[in-house]
Amino acid sequence: MSPETETAGAKGAPPPVIPVTPVTSVTALDERQLRRRERKFHNRDKWWGYALIAPAGLGLAVFYLWPVLQTLYYSFTEWGPFGGTTWIGIENYRTLVSDPEVWQSLGNTLFYTVLVLLGIPVAMVLAVLLNLKGMRGTGFYRTLYFLPVVTMPAAVAVVWRWLYNGDIGIINEALAKIGIDGAYWVSDPSTVRFAVAAVGVWMTVGYNMILLLAGLQGIPQDYYEAASLDGAGRVRQFFSVTLPLLSPTLFFTTVLSVIQSLQVFDLIYMILGANTAVGPTNPAYSEGQTVVMLFFQKSFYDNQRAYGAAIVCVLFVLIMALTALQFRLQKRWVHYG
């Protein structure tokens, strides 16, 4: 039977388990009657449907759908000094490929993305600890770990710039206590990317932890009981029960993390400080600058909007490609029940 998603599917029963038995034939009859009545309403209903969708639909069309197409179009044009565009084909993309600033920012962004992914194992350890049987104070820990997630990234950046300060920052003060001479973390080209990524991890651990904790709590206790009856120890249980059953959540977390990291802006923009007309004040600016920052700079400060459009189009393709790649690779490690 073809599942009618509107009525049958909505009741919460997954389609494969609707058996063809005498019991369901009664409800099928009811449904047929219902559907006949529905058809009576149908014609009037459809106007209600359009009316309810219109406000959101028009807004999205004007402010989102059409702009995507426009941005795509802009990326093939040149922006006149007084506005107006001229079609120049793939010229922007050609410039972009040989623009070292673009490559640098792409590299920085990917570096950040990979390092932030390293926060997922950390989040996983925390989630496993919080999920231990008989654990007390989980609510308290959860609240604390979640604080950086809700805090404004711009404000977080201001705070971390202070912690990272090379002369009087608390991090270097602490390092000095154990005899280490700390760097000028966010203005030294060799450290800036690590410093920024550490903040990225700090900001996302709580979020990933919550997602993973939800995944862990979804694993039926029976499986662990069964495994321990079979003599599997704690470690073995983790690898043969927890990890496979958590892999869909891990996958989801990874995909989200990559998508968000590739678009990082607020945090790094604020940590690096402004790029003024006479150039950036931060000597490590170009080693920290992300793709979205470059887009922002080109589009709204350097008045090269079409070039900026080409940059975000490349970012879009990159995000799609990396997401598609992850979906392809998931067959190797993600275990769906």
Binding site: E38, P55, Y64, V68, M152, L213, F316
Partner: protein, 313 residues
């Protein structure tokens, strides 16, 4: 190996909980109370390494925010002292008034609140209307329109930015509350989220109301919307958070300090007080405090809502 023999029988097909089937949990044998107490005590004893690790992580997590609060009360001189003081010698409240003198903080606070409020209320209303229609009403072209919504959902937000700015400029809306709020009133994500929520609700009540002659809008407003409260709460929290913290869009459209929200104001504060950290800490504290208060007050909803939907971005 042996796993198959023990794990299989209790495991319903496809990993789904057996719908309507016999309860899969077996009642656990109750151990005698004394034994249970002993076990609980020993369990707590074994948990201390976990507590140590979790506390360590919590300290690392909270320390930056704590240091922010402490610094915001120090004098500039004290903040630069080389073995640093932990507690402020004199609690210097004037850092906060310096923030008010440096940026139009009051205006920016009001801008942020209004922007957040407008975006959130509008999204809850518009998204739920569209979501309800997608979930419950049949009309020609529904699938195609929904695909359009999904397409928007997949595109990173920077791709909208240039043309949106163009529209604001053409409308003469730059440096206004409309510019801050209007594009954020619409959300493909919110529509998608609430549609999923409506699809998960039982439809009997709605059908009954329809048969009693209520029109689809009445059914949506009177029956479906109240039932969808958890979904609305999740979307509301996400929109609140995202609007309050949003930086790039305000930086683009509202360059007049009096029209900025706090996030952009913080950027300009940092520009003018590059090294006056106590003032910067005071400013950033003021900008984040409202969100933190709301978060602590409704943390359960926050965490559930965010875990439920995956943050937008």
């Amino acid at each position: 190996m042996a796993e198959t023999t023990t794990a299989q029988p209790t495991r319903p097909a496809g990993g789904h909980p057996a719908p309507g089937g016999p309860a899969s949990e077996r009642p656990a044998a109750e151990p005698p109370a004394a034994k249970r107490r002993v076990r609980r005590a020993s369990r707590q004893g074994r948990l201390w390494p976990a507590h140590v690790l979790l506390s360590l992580g919590a300290v690392v997590t909270v320390f930056p925010l704590l240091w922010q609060v402490l610094t915001s009360f120090k004098s500039f001189g004290e903040s630069t002292r080389v073995p640093p003081t932990i507690w402020p010698e004199h609690w210097q409240w004037s850092n906060f008034s310096t923030v008010f003198d440096s940026i139009p903080f009051g205006d920016q606070f009001v801008n942020t609140v209004l922007m957040t409020l407008i975006r959130t209320v509008a999204q809850l209303l518009l998204c739920s209307m569209a979501a309800y229609a997608f979930a419950r009403i049949r009309f020609p072209g529904r699938g195609a329109i929904f695909l359009g919504f999904l397409a928007v959902l997949m595109v990173p937000s920077q791709l909208f930015l240039l043309p949106q700015y163009q529209i604001m400029q053409d409308l003469g809306w730059l440096n206004s509350l409309q510019a801050l709020s209007v594009p954020g009133m619409f959300s493909a994500f919110g529509t998608f989220l609430l549609r999923q929520f409506f699809l998960g609700l039982p439809g009997e009540l709605e059908e009954a109301a329809r048969l009693d002659g209520a029109n689809p809008f009445t059914v949506y407003w009177r029956i479906a919307l109240p039932l969808a409260r958890p979904g609305l709460l999740a979307l509301g929290i996400l929109t609140f958070l995202w609007s309050w913290n949003d930086l790039m869009w305000p930086l683009v459209v509202n360059t007049d300090p009096a029209q900025m929200p706090l996030s952009a104001g913080l950027a300009s504060l940092q520009g003018s007080h590059m090294t006056d950290y106590p003032v910067l800490m005071a400013g950033s504290l003021l900008a984040t405090l409202p969100v933190i208060v709301v978060f602590v007050a409704m943390q359960r909803h926050f965490i559930q809502g965010i875990a439920f939907s995956g943050m937008k971005g």
